[in-house]
Amino acid sequence: MIHLPVVKAADRKFEANPDNAPTEDLREELFQLEKEGELEVIRVPDNYIELPTKYGRMKKIPVEKTWHHKSCGQCGHIPGYSTSIFWLNRQFGLDYYDPTDQTSCTAWNYYASATSNPEAQAAVAIRNFAAAHEVGYFPLIHCGTSFGHYKEVRHALIHQHDLRRKVKKIMERLGKKLVIPEEIVHYSEWVLAMKDRIAERQEVDMSHITATVHPACHYHKLIEEDAIYDSEIYGAQRTAIVTGTLQALGINVGDYSTWFDCCGFGFRHILVSRDFSRSFSVQRKIEVMKEEVDPDIVVTHDTGCVTTLDQSQFAGRAHDKKVGLPVMSDSQVAALAMGAHPYKVLQLHWHNTDNKPFLRKLGLDIDKQWAEFQAEVDLIKAGKKEFMTWEDADK
């Protein structure tokens, strides 16, 4: 392997200037189209926090009245990811909505197999947006791919009259309006916006922890001007997402040379060509992190990234690769910092790579905590309890 020197991004600065943005401000165009009767804009609710995007435009992040557009991969295979997002909302007493009138964005399949088309993809997106609007909440997108895809859908619907007309007709058939949110907001932006409030209520010291961050491709590579950047983080040379949250919790974030590389997910590859996903994830991400930083944990903010980086390490171990880094989402780390239960809330038993050394380093009595979770499962198995409640999770 060739070893290249790591260029520290923090040594350089990117001067954000909205006039230099490669595209116009889509929000202005949205409101113009609304005036012309082409569509309806879902406004960001009044209680919001503004964060800067790559070229300095400010983005409104709703604090509450959020409609949680869940992720099929998170809910299906790593359900503590979504549970931690909800748990954070509940801890702050925020008004949020966990819908059943929601489908997946279906973009994972679209990027994997192309067995869809732009009309169908846009119609699925608008159907979900309309469902949020009908109950008076604002969409908060859990999945990085859904987020990137919806940004592209919004861009296409604004610029392609023909597509807009087709989707409007489909929505009419469904008895729905063509509605588009003023902002497309990813949950990790909400976590970042809430970082100071999370840090104020931090119960678990994390100042002795070192992490590496993997920014999700579809978060910052698709419609890059809509991702969050901060001049104080990496000199705004790369997105501030996740890193800003971890630093607020006192975690040392280590830099590594392959930060821009994808995780190896590949959409179709993770399902039918996993040899690629395994190799890329281990050799280009995990091993590089180990060699250059040797962190306690890898933190990321997308379904596919948590899955691929975590699950791929099992096969890497069989090949004597330098693996063994626990992988979690920023929502799980933030919840853990605020005292969430590692099994009842973070649901870490669904993860693969051993996370016990990390949890013990935080001073947690994980044997006791696993027994507490197991006691809940035993009650369910014995038919003495239908399911574990939020109240049970906080006992």
Binding site: T100, N109, E119, K221, G266, F267, S279
Partner: protein, 236 residues
């Protein structure tokens, strides 16, 4: 690693006119004007590309072929290389604002829509995923975590499979107590999704690429659509 055969004769059995027709279909896509602006041959896209590190694959070759309108080469790429792309869009770093990843998205759509044999082969083994997403609205579900499906994910998959029902009930959000879908989805939501698939031509597209899967999906959807009062699902 097998080298990719880019010779023009590889698909000599397919007429030039047919290859040109397919490329015309790619160029007719509404997105085409925003994905290709020329190529410096700088190779930044290749340097950023994960697939280029592990396959005989190059986003630069894709961009060059379509920029030169090399119809034979485009057909060769459409019959093989495009399925190696990771769709991460790291190649959007292009200093000319090209998007080889988006070019590939369009080429894949055209390959599927026209039922290319190579597209059918690329999607072999993927049918159960298409079935899952189209019939339930979830790409993956908890009950897919079975050891035979994920042998390389280790022994914890056995543990999940053995405890699946109880572990799902041991999730505080009530919407997550499901096993066949990622979360609980309303019946009316699924019906609306089926209507979208029908109205946008996605069902026709599936019929062209996998007739068996199409028939299974029709069976599943027809029953639920009829229950919801949709006896006739013909649209303009």
């Amino acid at each position: 690693m097998m080298a990719l055969d880019l010779s023009q004769n590889k698909h000599a059995d397919v007429s030039y006119d047919e290859k040109e027709r397919l490329f015309d279909e790619v160029k007719a896509d509404d997105r085409w004007q925003h994905v290709l602006y020329g190529c410096y041959e700088c190779g930044i896209c290749v340097a950023a590309c994960p697939s280029a590190r592990f396959y005989d694959f190059s986003p630069r070759v894709i961009a060059q072929a379509v920029a030169r309108e090399d119809v034979d080469l485009i057909y060769t790429l459409m019959s093989d290389s495009i399925w190696d792309c990771s769709q991460c869009f790291s190649c959007d770093r292009c200093p000319r604002q090209n998007s080889p990843g988006q070019i590939i998205t369009i080429m894949r759509e055209v390959a599927v829509k026209n039922g290319l044999q190579t597209a059918k082969e690329a999607l072999e083994g993927y049918g159960r995923i298409i079935y899952k997403i189209m019939s339930t609205g979830s790409q993956v579900s908890p009950d897919m975590l079975q050891p035979d499906a994920f042998p390389d994910w280790g022994t914890h998959v056995y543990e999940i499979a053995e405890n699946l029902e109880e572990w799902r009930k041991a999730l505080p959000p009530e919407t997550l107590h499901t096993t066949e879908t990622g979360w609980k989805v309303d019946q009316k939501t699924i019906i609306e999704l089926y209507l979208i698939w029908h109205m946008t031509g996605v069902m026709d597209l599936i019929e062209g690429v996998d007739e068996g899967l199409f028939m299974i999906l029709v069976d599943v959807m027809e029953e639920r659509l009829e229950e919801a009062g949709y006896d006739d699902i013909t649209f303009d």
